[in-house]
Symmetry: C2
Subunit: 293 residues, 2 copies
Amino acid sequence: MAIQILLARHAGFCFGVKRAVKIATQSSALHKEVNTLGQIIHNPQVVEDLISKGVKPINNLDECGDNPIIIRSHGVPFETYNKLEQLGNEIIDATCPFVLRAQDKVAKADKMGYQVYIYGDADHPEVLSLNSFAINKPAIVFSTPNELKGKPVSRSAVISQTTKDLAGFKAVVCRMVEDCPELLVFNTICTATAIRQRHTVELAQEVDLMLIIGGKNSSNTKMLAKLSSEHAETYHIETADEMKKEWFAKKEKIGISAGASTPDNIIVAIYNRIIDWFGGLTKAVNVADIPVH
Amino acid sequence: MAIQILLARHAGFCFGVKRAVKIATQSSALHKEVNTLGQIIHNPQVVEDLISKGVKPINNLDECGDNPIIIRSHGVPFETYNKLEQLGNEIIDATCPFVLRAQDKVAKADKMGYQVYIYGDADHPEVLSLNSFAINKPAIVFSTPNELKGKPVSRSAVISQTTKDLAGFKAVVCRMVEDCPELLVFNTICTATAIRQRHTVELAQEVDLMLIIGGKNSSNTKMLAKLSSEHAETYHIETADEMKKEWFAKKEKIGISAGASTPDNIIVAIYNRIIDWFGGLTKAVNVADIPVH
């Protein structure tokens, strides 16, 4: 029987990533060199492509010289804005609007005297940024519902890293509600993330093998891989070269999903590689040529 | 084998009910007649006893004459306080402090512009009272998580009738969090209620038959009966006279729990009636004589 390949209904670049890459590309046309503080999005291939256009990641502000600075999609800590202003470099803000909104919520809750809890990965740039907006009292950060120990502070606020899973966030809220007389909940999970997760799970439930495409350092892609692996044999890959032909032995129905920072051309290359190996289908030119679940 | 009878670790009068009955009894000693707006607590036997002491329930303020008015444990609507002040009668407030706190939360959330949702029974006096404190916009009242239809308003606050179940409230919050960007949660379930429910369920899981004692009109007693019935054959009774000997055929281990408005003497009478029928145990004089689970 011929192999069947289906792409999840929502996969690949989200609004915030598209916007950040567009901002970076436009800036590269206007300046000889621009810098991003850290990688602009969590996809090594996209970052490499942008470097070739003069958009170079730096690790700290000492390295920037006079170049304009692009703030990456995940946002930066509150203090970095102050430092950037002192330096006087041109600032190009590519922070995802959903992250900006989450920053506002942290600042608001902290100002109102709530103890802020952040459901997210402590060392993720977005979470470092969010936490910095809790100016009066540092936020409590945890990456799984089980990490929450003891009773929450009696007036607490809880928010989520924009790319975490809704089921986990609901479990967190349920646990906190039990012992917290006043809990302010900001559901800051971005709609695209929630939809992408749901479609990935629906697809994983129907196929023999799932390929989740995206940066190994991409939080939202890792979450897709985790959720997918609960329903199907799952491989998290960055590029077509990582695939092994033997994964597909005796597999008839293949599902593909991709993180919010995965560009279309990588999805197309992976789809075409499978067709190279097993035939029976027409190769894709654009991502729109791939059958959607 | 002799019958075994165990009383749930927390059963019977809660703090708020004890306080209300004490206030009513003290008032009856000071005045020839006092009135309560509606029944002071949801237990017909206690209400009858208080009537014999001159504490008489009335249905509306037209009936009160010059008597002092006791506000019952469930609280009264906001408007009633105004009317009482206009009438000029002495006001004795026996509202449960946990209900007072819930009233405050509704008023606070309403004032802050949130749409208030109340998880409670729409025609229960406590819920009528709570709802009246949402002055700017009427609250949305629902008694089961499934009654919540459609998306909640984007800035919502949710509170619970003090005697509802924690599991149901958590299900409500989980459902609302999904589609609500900002949700202020007040867990107003009173601690005594939550503890009584937990101990009732734990007992029900271990016995052959459960007796839940309390007013048929008592919301918290009905909730105990509902939770108990999920684990054991359960009878909700007000007095010993309602019991039937045949319920106990082939039953060895009996559990007893009682609502927050059930006085000790009714629990003792029921315990002793079972011993009258089946023997093998020493009768109780006080509730403290009954073995506790």
